[in-house]
């Protein structure tokens, strides 16, 4: 048996050349593939996420909204593909991440202030630098509660505020938020939503927000990324350009209502498909 019969035929196909996104793109995702239990969740998925914008991710249950941002943030390994931040890899990029479950994201053995300073300490910042940044954050979030308390002594909204502060402490290039409001009561949701918008207007940090509330997704977004059922593709990217700061008045503007209605139509079309 020295010859191989029916040897598989390989074609020396060149790797497809990397296609950069349009100007103003921050994160480029090319050929992203992810299998879950043998089934494709994402297959050859391409996406450009713009810089200095808020992108809301919305889609049917189980389409992998959170998985998408977790893969971009490096929390879930990908099977194939390439994700670049301004042409750099994740290792060379500072990111922040806000978890849905703040209770299990904060470190209860540290005081809240030390939780927020933790990413700075990881970077080896001096005490003076850490203190300066803390003062800055406290001012820009207009914190009214005692940061010397332990996280479990704070209310849910205060804890989530603290974990957003922690994510923003190192001035990340991108901030990922995985359903950050879904464990909070309505009052706190409104409050933190406004804070988030304020911070965005100050810093113009690129944000990717997963939401299960369409109104909230549209309200905060510059772009609404609508996904299909699995295997997940981009159903539509809807721009929404109403000026900031958006307020409760915005919610009844015709442009907002139109954007929300259109998103809902696309969503329903995808769910029924």
């Amino acid at each position: 048996m020295s010859t191989v019969l029916n040897a598989p035929v390989f074609v020396e196909a060149p790797e497809p050349a990397f296609q950069p996104g349009p100007a103003g793109t921050h994160i480029t995702i090319r050929g992203l593939t992810k299998y879950f239990a043998g089934w494709p969740l994402y297959e050859d998925f391409d996406l450009d996420i713009p810089k200095h914008k808020i992108v809301s991710v919305f889609g049917p249950n189980g389409c992998g909204k959170s998985t998408l941002i977790n893969m971009i943030a490096g929390l879930v390994p990908i099977d194939k593909g390439q994700i670049l931040f301004d042409g750099k890899s994740l290792q060379d990029t500072k990111i922040g991440y806000v978890f849905q479950n703040y209770r299990e994201a904060m470190f209860p053995w540290m005081r809240t202030i030390d939780n927020i300073a933790y990413p700075l300490k990881l970077q080896g910042k001096s005490k003076a630098e850490v203190e300066r940044r803390m003062a800055e954050l406290v001012a820009s979030f207009d914190v009214k509660f005692d940061l010397n308390r332990y996280p479990y002594e704070l209310s849910g909204g205060q804890q989530q505020t603290a974990s957003i502060m922690r994510a923003l402490a190192p001035n990340p290039e991108v901030l990922f938020l995985d359903e950050p409001f879904s464990a909070l009561d309505f009052e706190m949701t409104l409050f933190i939503r406004e804070k988030l918008q304020e911070v965005f207007m100050q810093t113009r940090t690129t944000m990717v927000l997963v939401s299960h509330d369409l109104e909230e997704a549209v309200y905060l977004a510059d772009q609404v990324l609508l996904l299909t059922k699995r295997p997940t593709k981009v159903a539509e990217i809807l721009p929404y350009d109403d000026p900031r700061p958006r307020t409760t008045v915005t919610l009844s503007e015709p442009s907002f209502v139109k954007a929300k209605k259109l998103s809902l139509e696309i969503f329903q079309r995808e769910v029924r498909r």
């Binding site: 922040g96 991440y97 978890f99 299990e104």
Partner: protein, 271 residues
């Protein structure tokens, strides 16, 4: 029961609205022991059990108090405490770091898991003859076997504390750029503290049990175990019961002490 009066949790016993009931709820924990002592006393008084087998409770308590207040019981008590503390310290100082390291490299833990589970399930007293062969009839022997029994409990609990660490906290640290070592130092070690304390508390009880057993049966000439068996042989029941009560009080005190320490150190536990 609920229809008559709303049940109030013990924590709110000091609530000002219930001043009339406060004395009662505070007295609740005392009721059990008092009832036991009354029954005990009646049983002796009415002659159900001969006084040669069971002394009156006040006699036993009196012997306990005079014994611990500088009598010979105090010496044996302190020796047992010292052996238990030694065994416990060995178990804690070796077991906690070992358990945490094993837990953080799960493959390492899986490879020794069977051994730990097997010897953890083996009654340590069954190993006394084996330890006799290794260490001889010495003081070290008693400490060694107690330390061995306690060690396995500590390793097991610390390792599982790390293995079951909240994945999200680990992820949070990683996404902030923590290295493997930083995740270990800043998250895994802390996450394992609470289960480790559960382990330490069981370990100190285990150490006490084995020390007492070893004092009874491995040619000891001191310690509470030795005292209990000696008094039994000469039918000095007052002293025997006093020693048993002393051993019980010691076990209870150690448990309470650990709960207090745990509450201080693992202040976030259960929140």
């Amino acid at each position: 029961m609920q229809a008559a009066k709303p049940w109030s949790p013990p924590a709110s016993a000091g609530a000002p609205t219930q001043t009339a009931k406060t004395d009662w709820t505070k007295a609740l924990p005392v009721i059990g022991p008092v009832v036991l002592f009354i029954i005990w006393d009646l049983v002796v008084r009415l002659g159900f059990i001969k006084p040669i087998l069971l002394p009156a409770p006040l006699d036993a308590l009196g012997t306990l108090i005079t014994g611990l207040a500088g009598g010979p019981l105090l010496g044996d008590f302190l020796i047992t405490v010292w052996r238990t503390v030694q065994a416990f310290l060995i178990a804690a100082l070796v077991g906690m770091p070992l358990g945490i390291v094993l837990g953080s490299t799960e493959k390492a833990y899986r490879s020794v898991e069977f051994l730990i589970d097997f010897f953890r399930s083996t009654p340590s007293s069954a190993l006394i003859p084996l330890f006799l062969m290794i260490f001889g009839v010495s003081d070290i022997n008693k400490v060694a076997i107690a330390a061995f029994g306690a060690l396995l409990i500590v390793i097991f609990n610390s390792a599982y504390g790390v293995i079951n660490a909240r994945k999200q906290r680990v992820m949070a640290a990683k996404v902030m750029g923590a290295t493997r070592w930083q995740v270990f130092r800043d998250v895994l070690v802390w996450e394992s503290l609470q289960p480790s304390f559960v382990g330490l508390r069981s370990a100190v009880s285990m150490a006490l049990v084995i020390v007492i057993v070893a004092e009874m049966f491995i040619g000891a000439d001191s310690g509470l175990g030795n005292r209990i068996i000696n008094s039994q042989q000469v039918m000095n029941v007052k002293d025997m019961y006093a020693s048993i009560l002393a051993a019980g009080a010691l076990g209870y005190a150690l448990n309470v002490l650990f709960l207090l320490v745990e509450k201080r150190i693992v202040h976030w536990s259960g929140r």
